[in-house]
Symmetry: C2
Subunit: 437 residues, 2 copies
């Protein structure tokens, strides 16, 4: 084959990550625990392709995401395709397609990768992996409670304590209703259109300066109303106004129920909005309480009307998406990620070529007892083989040489502690499990 | 929010699949078993993004795949991006980037999804999931043996018997060497370029008619040599010629070693080529022995020179990729896929609203004992709740009502057998595990 002179680059595509075994170990730590929690709550796994028809995102995902941040292209057959920026529209599409056959309520989870075209920065990458957890078919407060409880249980399963995070809550109907009430009390009115735009503006508030926000607010609501909103739309006023709104009672009931179910770290945040246009009720965010880094870790909410995208009747739906990038940062900052250890338990070091077949036979028998075993088949010096095992963070090495073949006694080396045990073959598996369990 | 009139379609993008829980169950069956096998052989998991710089595939992946079958696009920052059509270049890139730090030999596996723009048809979809297993850093026959043994063990772990499949082997150096020898014995020569092109042509042989193949062969080699190849390049001749070629001894040694290690169903297939340009040594394919459907299920080979793509020295590398689509077809045809059962063990049926809190407490305690439990929070009639559990293929239902709350005795219903047990709370978990293990 003629050699090509041009060299390919060794870096991955911009803004995405390579997962070497020690990186994959952290991913597995996060998502194995997550999977364990949600399956214990009766959530069942689904999955779908990363490619979706572009129309799926046109109507209900936020404008910013669709117009500025999605990966779109036209395929060789002239179809408009999008690399999914989020999973919720996909789950909704799948349920809509089988709405009659599926037995509601549905508890579904998935761990997809999703893409956004963003400038890569701390906590934001172009690709991240995301646990998605959704409960379909239950309109009541119990569904909202379950989803928030799941988010809480996830954090606890990662090893976080109640002081490490707070769960902020708000409601997408309460926002315009309290606003309308505030306007009314001041002798003014807010149109539906203004309400929708105000929610979008509030969502971007953290990303702009106070003066810029005030200007945009004035542009949207006029001088008088924007003045009222800026001065009076405060947490205190809103908490008072909520009592009198249509959706207020339900929201206050949610807060009470969560408290009575023993979640100590919940908090109403009247400024919480969340980006997606499709939310229709409760919204929440799990926030890091670290004073240096008080970031949102993940969140979700209720989106009963997303099914209208497919011409369907609304369906009660509530859920959240938890991305790996921010959770990994959080876990690192709290030192909650365990030290890397290889998924291979034992490295079989082969002292001389004549011992290879014996080593491979031994390896097969250990595998049948559940031990994960790699055999060194390089024929290198014993010391080099041991170094390889240690460098890979494999917990044990076992030497097979002439002496071992004769006596049937093996030296099991613990590569972390340097401790060494002489064992018969039948005791090797138990000795390994004793240390690793 | 104003309603949009246009409706999004409910189907996935063309040629890809939605995985509902019962579909995901089969995926998990395939890849959990695969993961179990390869980890027991000391393979460690890596992963990477599905997006790669396009240049990664330009040089060494087959022309057909790159020019006709890849998904390419230009991103918003004007970078040429490809949705990976295979995983091997990615693994090679990652190892090349850390060649000095990584402890060889490396045993790596991954379960990525890969994309090809093909006309969707039986056994071929635009997206499939693929176990990739590779051994880097060992040039000898032992590495080839291990990779083929892994392929064999995978098939056995899926429940296939030795009669269900055969492993066909060939060698990418033996092909041109035997061809050159044949030409020489007939007083002719084959150029390097002709050799490369002949391998590519042989790869497409199955997709064309005999006359078309003969024409293309004549075009490539001329009348005289193509005549010799057509008439004499038969399995019998090749097996005789191999003995005299440079690479022949190594290949025959591989066949012998595999036989001596107890793999009964191997076979030399002189016509086996496999598509990728990067193979440099042993190649193999696991083939279904069903007379109605004698298809290749998966395969791989040695590709020591792929590292040259990055300007690196060659590195010994051998591996395979096993896609889910064909394996699933195979398993279905052999009735090897187990019946679907939900990952949720118990469905808690709540007889009346007053029992909900008790049910949720009970659910929490069962979860702590390892049982996966969904609580029906819909407030529907008891019969409807039971129907939901059965429709979801959840193995057990447990009713919580006034009577149960009073007596502390619960009815555990096995929804498949309709058997019912009356149990104290403390015996529920064991009763569930007894049936499910």
């Amino acid at each position: 084959m003629p050699k090509k002179k041009s060299q390919a680059k060794k870096e991955p595509y911009k803004g995405v990550r390579d997962f070497y075994p020690e990186d994959q170990f952290v991913q597995d730590f996060i998502f194995d625990r997550a999977r364990d929690v949600v399956e214990h709550y009766g959530y069942e796994e689904y999955n779908a392709s990363i490619l979706e028809p572009s129309e799926l995102y046109a109507a209900k995902t936020s404008d910013e995401i669709v117009n500025e941040q999605t990966y779109n292209f036209v395929d060789r057959g002239n179809r408009k395709v999008t690399i999914r920026p989020e999973m919720t529209p996909t789950a909704t599409r799948m349920i809509s397609a089988r709405r009659r056959e599926l037995a509601l309520p549905l508890r579904w989870y998935s761990i997809p990768n999703v893409f956004r075209y963003e400038r890569p920065q701390h906590g934001r990458l172009r690709e991240h992996w995301q646990l998605n957890c959704d409960l379909f078919g239950v309109p009541g407060v119990e569904a909202d409670v379950e989803i928030i409880l799941l988010a809480y249980e996830l954090m606890r399963a990662f090893g976080a304590s109640d002081n490490d995070f707070v769960i902020k809550l708000n409601n997408r109907q309460v926002i315009p209703e309290t606003l309308a009430l505030l306007a009314k009390q001041n002798g003014m009115k807010v149109t539906k259109d203004q309400q929708v735009k105000l929610v979008r503006l509030m969502d971007k508030r953290d990303k702009m300066k106070a003066a810029e926000y005030a200007d945009l607010l004035r542009e949207l609501l006029g001088d008088k109303l924007s003045d009222v909103v800026l001065k009076q739309y405060t947490p205190e006023t809103i908490r008072r106004l909520i009592q009198e709104t249509e959706s207020g009672a339900g929201f206050l009931n949610l807060l009470d129920t969560l408290e009575s179910r023993g979640i100590p770290n919940i908090m109403h945040d009247p400024n919480l909005v969340r980006g997606f246009d499709y939310y229709t009720g409760m919204i929440f965010e799990v926030v890091d309480t670290s004073p240096e880094n008080p970031r949102a870790l993940f969140g979700g909410g209720r989106y009963d009307e997303l099914f209208e995208l497919f011409g369907d009747d609304p369906m009660p739906a509530v859920g959240f998406g938890m991305g790996d990038v921010r959770i990994r940062d959080f876990l690192n900052s709290r030192k909650l990620v365990p030290a890397y250890i290889s998924s291979t338990d034992v490295y079989l070091v082969v002292a001389e070529p004549e011992s290879l077949l014996v080593a491979q036979g031994l390896a097969q028998r250990l595998r049948r007892r559940g031990v994960t075993v790699a055999v060194d088949i390089t024929g290198r010096k014993l010391g080099d083989q041991l170094k390889t095992a240690a460098k890979k963070s494999i917990p044990f090495a076992l030497i097979v040489g002439e002496n071992e073949r004769k006596t049937g006694k093996y030296q099991l080396k613990n590569l972390a502690t340097k401790a060494q045990q002489e064992l018969d073959e039948k005791h090797i598996a138990d000795a390994v499990f004793e240390t690793l369990e």
